[in-house]
Amino acid sequence: MVFVWITAFFLLIALIVLIIYQLMCLADLEFDYINPYDSASRINKVVLPEFALQGVLCLLFLLSGHWLLFLFCAPIVYYNVRLYQQQQHLVDVTEIFNQLDTEKKRRLFKLISVVVILFLSLFWMIWSMLEDDE
């Protein structure tokens, strides 16, 4: 069980790092520190890994039987899958400035929900450890 918690913890941290990285690229672009080509290619490089991590995390919760956490994760995964199906998961370098706001909002939401899941799972982990001790 501890293994599951630790894996989940590191997955969540990795997810947060990836999303923050994308947000930073977008912010840099907005303040004209990097050009749209670099920004878009950097973001696009980490989009698929992020999706994969999210999927793995969701699967982990499902298999380890944490239904509630799984339910928290599932909407994000569903959203990612839909983006991928519509081929909208990558940022478009030609339209990046017009989409800047939506892209940022999208990632902020993801960040917030991942952070919430992180706290929930931490709380759960401590809870279950305390229960184990008893």
Partner: protein, 1054 residues
């Protein structure tokens, strides 16, 4: 014009008949401060001296400082009493304005009395008043007369309506500059200057004298005729409004209209701008209501809709450039370079929220200028270009020099900069630099700086043209290959930038054919690369050569090109790999890539599939996907091209679907252009292709350019619309830009409240000229900040608004349904008119009238025709998908003048010109309303939308003319779609061709292909002409009258 007939009767009998006027007064006491007073006062002034017209100023009381002139005082009481008498509902100004038709027969007044009673009672005197001369004009003159005829539908309304010109006449008069301010200012003003430049040289900044309209004014004043009618005797002086602004000293927005605000507003205005004195002008302007109106009230149950078709405003004179702004700000760049949607920038977010139209600018940085007005070139030499340290604004006429000329204050960020030693010049007594006249950058709104090496990241590139030509079987068969080859060959001498020009060719079908053009060869070598997955260049160089060195090889290639692929049976097209190869060839230098494509790209990367024939997708949420690129490859390529300073022009010739939506994105993000020739056939279309390709190759082009628009504190450009790529939030990358491309952008306010009174805009285009010089073209403009919505409407520019709206609509179709895009535009129109109505509804009885600002009188019509334009009209069956996309891409680059021409094409009747003597053809006077009712079966018409001409032959047109002009016998029913209009050896034909040439000269940016269609020749007549008569009701769309009614109903309901 009929100046006296209507005015005098209204006023003169008006005074004695006090009882009838007093009656309604009690119901609407509020109007006393409104223009009603002005109306009567003007009557008084007419009777006595022009000075009297200041009367309303005092009557307005709270605001006006009395002018203590004797005649005025004596007239004061008169006006006062009149005011009280006259408070009754004012006859709408249109009555005054449109009296261009003679008074009606005497039988009318009686009818009028009854009808007004029924339908428009609140606005009209009770029928007991037998003021016959008053009513006569009412019935006959306004643009809304038909209401009065409603109960007598058998009376033909046609003779009653004023001719269509009424609209323009109205417009000029409703903006009447006040005669008083004219006279009071004329003493202090220097003599009229012949030109605008004259001002900028001779006069201190900030107190600009009025400009050109002025010399006309004094004369009518001295005659002391009714100023309303005489001061602006013709409708050809539309920008009258501006001269009025100019009188206010050039710094101040014109005083608010008395209608627009309550008294408190006026007084505040005075405090704010104490230097202008009492806002007399504002009151006088109230002589006529400042808005225009259309009567649309209809009695319940009546069949007649109550709109007089003939009185609807129509832009028959084409685009009206807002040159009046040059009178307020003579140092602004010419409006052909930069136009704002309104020249009154709102001061607060809340005000902006009430302006439902787009707020923004249209920039046309390289607009063609008439001879003699070229943009001056400034070379600062060793001093370097003078720019603000902080905001990097270029020095411009609006910067102020202080500290004895040692410092200058930036007009955009108001930072104090040092003046370098080389640029120093002493100031004269008024604080102006002594050398202003010698320095164009301080006296002209548009200048071009020669940029030193700091503005280059690499040596200036040579003009470079690379041709990517599809040589598959369809290209050979349609004949475009031959036309293209001969056209390029004929243009080689005129390519810009000799002797540095570089050129290269790549042909492709299912393989890529590179052409070695090394100058030491006698014949070009063709190198074929068949591996489409791994593109490589067979030669390191010599694919791109200097034209003057390898001229003979290039000539040989172009000569042999058509014959070389004569027997090509290859039907595949590997456009994607060819684009990649072109990128590899050009990536070192950049330049212009011309893609000639005749089929759907079918193999290799970037292959496209046939889509768009699935009917079920239309009307669903997925409809828009047909209009966006199918394969992200094209967008990625476009991004790469822009990165390497390559502009792509796409020439598409296909009978079948070519997916212009995907191909066009190449042009969209590289500053290019899409040329679409549906079902190209060399015999009929070659002339058009020849002309447009030649223009593309030989017009002056700015290379590797970037453009930035700076603006003052508090405002910011947020979104940009056009063909370019954004390199950072406000920097437009334009690998190549020329005089045929305009850009639109939207403004937003950053602060909730703007504190400055003027906001400045500066367009800077940094580019490499064809001669290899790095240049910066700078256009500077200023606009007032206002706190009054009415002022925003008054200073609105329909052309810029409609251009921005159309680009927004086209972009909207890329993410929404066509229907949604159309509805959004309609919604914007309705909201803005509604806001305008709310502005005036308190003081005026607007029942049964659709009111709109004079500046936006054409907006409803333009929005209607925008909804019916090729890019937005109908659904699946109405326009082939490719044509729709091509039209959409086209609308994204059109400058204002051509856009308005496209939205309201010219329709001219020319058979009389053909028959009559050598009288010159004058377009502006002969343009007809765009409706099938204008078409007379006995006549011959030319329809001109700026992209093609359609010659329409009436059914009963004399066969003599037909046969002579066409050169064929029409009785044999020849296929007119294949008929080319050529000059034949007879007088008719020569005259017709002369007229066509004249029309073409007006718009050199495109070749208008001339097509002939006979009346009743379906379906060609319908698709070519009838569906483009935007005022008519067509399948599923409303006509102009219905549209107005629809707008009116929406205004009423919501």
């Amino acid at each position: 014009m009929q100046p006296m007939g209507n005015d005098k009767p209204t006023n003169v009998p008006g005074r004695p008949v006090s009882p009838f006027r007093a009656a309604p007064q009690s119901s609407t006491p509020f109007i006393s401060s409104g223009p009603v007073v002005g109306l009567e006062a003007s009557g008084a002034s007419r009777a006595t001296t022009p000075f009297l017209s200041s009367g309303p100023g005092t009557i307005l009381g709270a605001s006006g400082t009395p002018q203590t002139t004797v005649p005025f005082l004596s007239s004061g009481p008169i006006t006062g009493t009149q005011m009280s008498n006259y408070r009754s509902p004012p006859p709408p100004p249109v009555r005054y304005n449109g009296p261009s038709s003679p008074p009606p027969p005497t039988s009318y007044p009686a009818q009028d009395a009854t009808t007004y009673q029924q339908t428009q009672a609140p606005r009209f005197p009770p029928p007991g008043q037998p003021v016959t001369p008053f009513r006569g004009p009412v019935g006959s003159s306004g643009p809304s007369p038909s209401g009065s005829f409603r109960p007598q539908p058998q009376i033909p309304s046609v003779p009653m309506g004023p001719p269509p010109q009424t609209a323009t006449q109205m417009s000029s008069r409703s903006n009447m500059p006040p005669p008083l301010s004219e006279s009071s200012f004329s003493a202090t003003r220097p003599p009229p200057q012949p030109s605008l430049q004259g001002y900028s040289y001779g006069l201190p900044r900030g107190n600009m004298p009025p400009a050109s309209a002025e010399p006309q004014l004094p004369a009518p004043r001295s005659v002391s005729q009714p100023p309303l009618q005489q001061a602006f005797p013709s409708s050809h002086v539309p920008p009258v409004h501006a001269s009025y602004h100019a009188h206010q000293g050039g710094v101040v927005p014109p005083p608010p209209p008395p209608i627009g605000g309550p008294l408190g507003y006026n007084s505040r205005e005075q405090i704010q701008y104490p230097n202008i004195g009492p806002p007399i002008g504002g009151n006088l302007q109230g002589l006529v209501e400042e808005f225009q109106s259309l009567s649309v009230g209809s009695a319940p149950g009546s069949l007649d809709h109550g709109v007089d078709v003939k009185s609807l405003p129509r832009p028959l004179s084409g685009d009206e450039e807002p040159i009046k702004i040059l009178e307020t700000f003579p140092l602004n760049c010419h409006p052909r370079f930069l136009r704002l949607t309104t020249y009154a920038i709102p001061s607060s977010q809340s005000l902006l929220a009430r302006w439902h139209l787009p707020l923004g600018a249209v920039v046309h940085p390289l607009a063609e200028v008439p001879d003699g007005e070229e943009v001056p070139i400034v070379n600062f030499g060793p001093a370097g270009i003078i720019r603000c340290r902080r905001c990097r604004t270029y020095v411009n006429p609006y910067v102020t020099f202080t500290d004895a000329g040692r410092k200058w204050r930036c007009n955009i960020c108001s930072l104090l900069n040092d003046v370098s030693g080389e640029y120093y010049c002493a100031l004269d007594a008024s604080g102006r630099r002594c050398d202003v006249d010698q320095r164009p950058e301080l006296s002209k709104g548009s200048v071009e700086f020669v940029a030193p090496t700091e503005y280059m990241v690499r040596p200036p590139m040579p003009p470079l043209y690379f041709f990517l030509i599809d040589v598959s079987v369809s290209a050979v068969r349609s004949g475009f290959l031959e036309v293209v080859a001969t056209t390029i060959k004929s243009c080689l001498d005129e390519l810009p930038g000799f002797p540095r020009t570089q050129i290269g060719f790549l042909t492709f079908d299912s393989t890529l054919h590179f052409h070695n053009l090394k100058s030491s060869l006698t014949q070009p070598q063709m190198l074929v690369v068949a591996d489409l997955d791994d593109i490589f260049l067979p030669l390191p160089d010599d694919l791109l050569v200097n034209l003057s060195d390898s001229r003979h090889v290039v000539d040989a290639l172009l000569d042999s090109l058509p014959s070389m692929f004569q027997d090509n049976a290859n039907i595949e097209s590997a456009l994607g790999p060819a684009l990649k190869a072109a990128l590899m060839v050009m990536s070192q230098l950049g330049g212009k890539l011309l893609v000639f494509q005749s089929t759907l790209p079918s193999i290799g990367v970037g292959r496209l599939r046939l889509r768009g024939d699935d009917l079920r997708i239309y009307g669903t949420d997925k409809e828009h996907t047909l209009r966006i690129p199918d394969d992200p490859f094209y967008k990625q390529m476009a991004a790469e091209f822009t990165k390497h300073q390559i502009a792509v022009d796409v020439y598409a010739f296909s009978e079948k679907y070519t997916d212009i939506a995907s191909l066009g994105s190449l042009a969209k993000y590289t500053g290019g252009q899409v040329y679409h020739y549906p079902s190209f056939q060399a015999p009929t279309h070659q002339e058009k292709l020849r002309y447009e390709l030649a223009r593309d190759l030989t017009r002056e082009t700015a290379w590797e350019s970037v453009m930035r628009v700076r603006c003052g504190k508090g405002v910011r450009f947020t979104t940009y619309h056009g063909h370019f790529m954004l390199r950072s939030t406000d920097l437009l990358a334009l690998p190549a830009v020329d005089c045929d491309k305009a850009f639109a952008m939207q403004l937003s306010l950053e602060d909730t409240l703007m504190t400055t009174q003027t906001v400045y805009f500066q367009v800077a285009l940094l580019y490499t000229s064809s001669s290899g010089e790095r240049r910066i073209r700078v256009h500077t403009a200023a606009a007032h900040v206002v706190a009054d919505l009415g002022e925003m409407y008054r200073q609105a520019d329909t052309g810029a608004i409609i251009l921005l709206l159309s680009r927004l609509a086209v972009e909207n179709t890329l993410s929404h349904k066509l229907e949604d895009a159309r509805q959004l535009m309609q919604l914007k129109l309705v909201k803005s008119l509604k806001e305008y109505r709310n502005l005036h509804v308190v003081q005026h009885r607007l029942g049964g009238r659709l009111i709109f600002p004079e500046s936006l009188r054409f907006l409803p019509l333009y929005v209607l025709s925008l909804c019916k334009s090729l890019a937005l009209r109908g659904g699946y069956a109405d326009v082939p998908l490719d044509e729709r996309c091509a039209a959409g891409y086209n609308m994204m680059i059109l400058p204002i003048r051509r856009m308005l021409k496209l939205l309201y094409p010219g329709l001219y009747r020319i058979d009389e010109n053909l028959i009559k003597g050598p009288e010159e053809f004058n377009e502006s006077s002969k343009q007809l309303a765009l409706s099938a009712q204008s078409l007379d079966p006995r006549a011959l018409y030319i329809y001109d939308d700026g992209f093609s001409f359609i010659v329409w032959l009436g059914r009963m047109l004399s066969p003599d003319i037909v046969n002579n002009t066409l050169g064929v016998d029409l009785s044999g029913f020849p296929d007119l779609s294949r008929l080319a209009l050529l000059e034949h050896d007879n007088e008719y034909s020569r005259k017709l061709m002369r007229i066509i040439r004249r029309l073409r000269e007006k718009d050199p940016s495109c070749f208008q292909l001339c097509r002939v269609v006979r009346q009743g020749e379906q379906p060609r007549e319908g698709s070519l002409l009838l569906s483009n008569l935007f005022e008519d009701q067509a399948a599923g769309t409303s006509g102009y009258v219905d549209w107005i009614l629809q707008i009116y109903r929406q205004l009423q309901s919501s």
